[in-house]
Amino acid sequence: MRPHVTLFIQCLLDTFHPAVCQSMLDVFKHLDVPVIIPKDQTCCGQPAFNAGYRLEARKAASHFLDVFQNSDVIVCPSGSCVYMIRHHYPLLFENDPVRLNRSREICTRIYEFSEFLVDVGSAYSGQVTYHDSRHLARGLGIREQPRQLIRHVSGATLVEMSDSDRCCGFGGAFSIKYPDISSALVDDKVHAILASGADTGVGCDMGCLMNIEGRLSRMGSGIRVMHIAELLANGLGKGSRP
Amino acid sequence: MNPNHRNEFIQRVRAALGHPAHICRKAPELFRHPPGLHAAIADQALNRNRSERHILLDRFRQEAIPLNLNVIGVEGIDDAASIIVRLASQKEPEWERTKHVVTWAHPLIDKLDLSERLSAMNIPVHAAGMNDTDRDPFIQLAQHACIGVTSADYAIAESGTLVLKTRPGQPRCVSLTPSTHIAVITQNDLIDSFREMVAILQSDPAEVAEGLTSCMTFISGPSKTADIEACMVHGAHGPREVCVLVLLMPDQLTKGQSSDAV
């Protein structure tokens, strides 16, 4: 099954604002992220909790835990519902070890909508350096976006290599037609990576990455090369949040 | 004397905290400090070199600006005395027709010889007595004084604050009831922060022996209020002006430093 997200729709959106829910679906569709919306979901229990009715809130919260028990990543378009689940569920279930565990566990998988889009919640341990591929950086002007994403990966430190936007020497058929020039270029790139002290090289173009990976492998280097998607998918849901 | 109800009160507190009500709890460790910490901080504060003391004075001046606190560097006692004489001649009496000045009895203040210097202008100077025990006569003098002259134990650069303990000859009202308060200090009295002050108070043997006294006062600028439409007005109850004369150490004098205008 493709990775997907499970949506928890806040009751106010669910009952008053279906158009907003649809907008959220449109965003996920645009990103090509499949969504699941469990039909049995109702309410996180916040109205009762805020009014002081903890017993009633606990019932609603138990229902929530049951409905979302097997969901992988949960996204909810409401800050206060996510806050309720992350901060008040442990309080509600402090005398119920089983549900306390389940709520703690679900806390690591639930994201507010905008948080999910930006923070992703990936986790990776290491020093990551980023290669600016030519079409992306100079052609599309995309330099900052991948760096922002890397900075949002919990446990990853972005270390810049020198001349990160200098060509790696791939160039498609060029690497086969002019192997000597191509190798000289990739050597420079690899040295820049080594000098940065990073243990992982990340980029957004697989051609470049194959070229760099191939050269590193031949040199017997242990540096890992990853597409940014791989990095982001790493430890999904395990990333700590601010 | 009525009972002060201490026992039942403290027992109620102990019970509220979940301790047996009748067992007196002691915890000396709660009052302990990392050994040597205060001494180390105090040592640093009291042994600053020349340039560090200049930086402190600059900081004190900076902090004084928003407080409306006037800080003047002076070359020596004579300089300080003439500034006080000038201020005494300029100031209008607030409470009475004639002006008079009250001062602490303090080695630095005694050296100013204000009585002699101001007698020419017919401005009487009343120094607090060292052995007086009757409180009212001096308060009577201080309550309508034009100027009160004190020293200070410390001046704290962090916030433009003067620290004054209370001792015989150094009453509280001299810095409180006169229209203008002048404090004469030496540059060595300047310290950086409250953290340094409490470290000195707890490690210097003389300070430890004396304690904080019955009243230790922090003064940061003149009295002020903003109680009418948040409009800042100086001189609510205490002095309307405060002036700090900082005696620069002889070896620290450089050209231009003492030329601040009043």
Partner: protein, 435 residues
């Protein structure tokens, strides 16, 4: 002064409609609220010192018995008297007794919220004692026979013209609305009061157990006057207002100054440890410290609310609180006590109807089928309330308790079906539109 809920709603409505108060409060918030945050940023230890201060205060509170006993011993060694008042009545009676023993006719007061708490002024006045508030704002309020509207800005609801008229009437000065001459008039009038007072009464911002001192903060200098000039000084402190050591005390004092008025240090701070000593020419002959419980030990006994006693009364809260008290947590706990009652606090359930509604609600949200049905029925029933005139088809009038919303707002109608029910995984684009 006890304000009940109904009264609060009424008073708040009056306050909201008072343009002077609203503009002044907004100004105060703008200046001091933001100033405080900037002041925390500029702390040498950084803004996180507030978390350190929270831990200090919790430790102060958790060892309160030890710190109160140490404070008392020290103050008694320094010649001061300490009285432990279990409630407001005992505290007031002690002040009256001290006044009576010393033939006190006139009292000057430094601003003290705890004296408001125990109702000290009317009690002293009933004994024939003249009581003068000396903080300018409190003095204005007292002259006008009102109550302070803000801890650090008691007269914030008065315009300069109000004060001008008040002073011209009560102090006999020509009318002016200029703050400096008005302040001068109060300075003159109150100077006489200070000099003729037999007794000064102050609060205590924060005591230091280790050294045996209380501290008072002011900017006007009135508390220094009230604690220096009269023969007797009584300080009243809530029992929670004690720090352990001088080191902790200076941290809390700096945070209090920053919290209360965005200052690095309050204009005047006095550490008072007892009466004047031999050779001292001023300061009171007698110093009395009244330590007040008045319900605080009940808060202390409740682990959920104990944290409230960390408060050092800077007047701000939440994001500008200098000791980072978790107020939302305690508000939620308070509401749960009101919702279901609490025998420990002798609180009865606030509303059976509300309880029944939430029981019903909890049953519905755990039975999705019924939940759908009820929402569907509600969506059909709402047509009755839908305004036909409005092009946007909003609800502008609702019955019963829901009318609180529609008094000043429209409400969007419920969707005919919940989104969750209309969503069809295969064809997400075809889900129903809101109408």
């Amino acid at each position: 002064m006890i304000i009940r809920t109904e009264q609060y709603v009424h008073e708040a409505a009056l306050g909201i409609r008072n343009p002077v108060l609203q503009i002044s409060l907004a100004g105060l918030q703008e200046r001091l609220g933001k100033g405080d945050l900037a002041a925390y940023q500029s702390l040498p230890e950084g803004p996180d010192l507030r978390y350190v201060a929270h831990d200090m205060r919790m430790s102060n509170i958790c060892h309160l018995d030890i710190f109160l006993e140490t404070l008392t011993d020290r103050i008694q060694e320094q010649g001061g008297h300490v009285f432990f008042a279990s409630d407001a009545k005992a505290a007031v009676q002690y002040c009256i007794d001290v006044a009576a023993r010393n033939d006190v006719r006139r009292v000057v007061k430094g601003k003290s919220m705890v004296s408001e708490e125990i109702g000290l002024n009317p009690a002293l006045e009933a004994e024939g004692i003249e009581v003068t508030e000396t903080d300018l704002g409190e003095y204005i309020v007292q002259l006008a026979n009102g109550h302070p509207s803000h801890i650090i800005a008691p007269a914030i609801h008065k315009t300069r013209e109000d004060v001008g008229r008040l002073f011209s009437e009560k102090l006999g000065i020509p009318f002016t609305s200029d703050p400096p001459p008005l302040t001068r008039a109060a300075r003159n009038a109150l100077r006489e009061k200070f000099l003729n007072a037999d007794m000064g009464i102050s609060g205590c911002n924060l005591a230091c157990a280790q050294t045996g001192h209380i501290t008072t903060l002011s900017n006007e200098g009135n508390i220094r006057m009230a604690s220096t000039l009269p023969r007797i000084h009584i300080a009243i402190m809530g029992m929670e207002r004690v720090a352990a050591t001088l080191d902790e005390h200076q941290v809390l004092l700096r945070l209090l100054s920053r919290g209360a008025a965005a200052q690095k240090m309050a204009g005047y701070v006095s550490y008072i440890g007892g009466p004047r000593q031999p050779g001292h020419m001023d300061g009171p002959d007698a110093f009395h410290l009244v330590i007040l419980d008045n319900g605080r030990s009940r808060i202390l006994a409740d682990p959920e609310f104990r944290e409230m006693l960390c408060c050092i009364r800077c007047v701000w809260r939440l994001n500008v609180c200098p000791v980072h008290i978790d107020i939302p947590r305690m508000l939620l706990a308070l509401r749960s006590k009101l919702a279901d009652g609490d025998p420990v606090w002798n609180v009865k359930r606030k509303s059976r109807l509300e309880k029944a509604s939430f029981v019903l609600w909890s049953w519905l949200v755990t039975h999705p089928g019924l939940y759908d049905m009820v929402l569907g029925l509600s969506a059909s029933a709402q047509n009755h309330w839908l305004s036909s005139k409005k092009e946007n088809r909003m609800i502008s009038k609702l019955p019963g308790p829901l009318s609180g919303w529609t008094r000043s707002r429209d409400l969007r109608p419920l969707a005919k079906k919940r989104f969750v029910q209309t969503y069809c995984p295969g064809k997400p684009d075809e889900s129903e539109s809101p109408e």
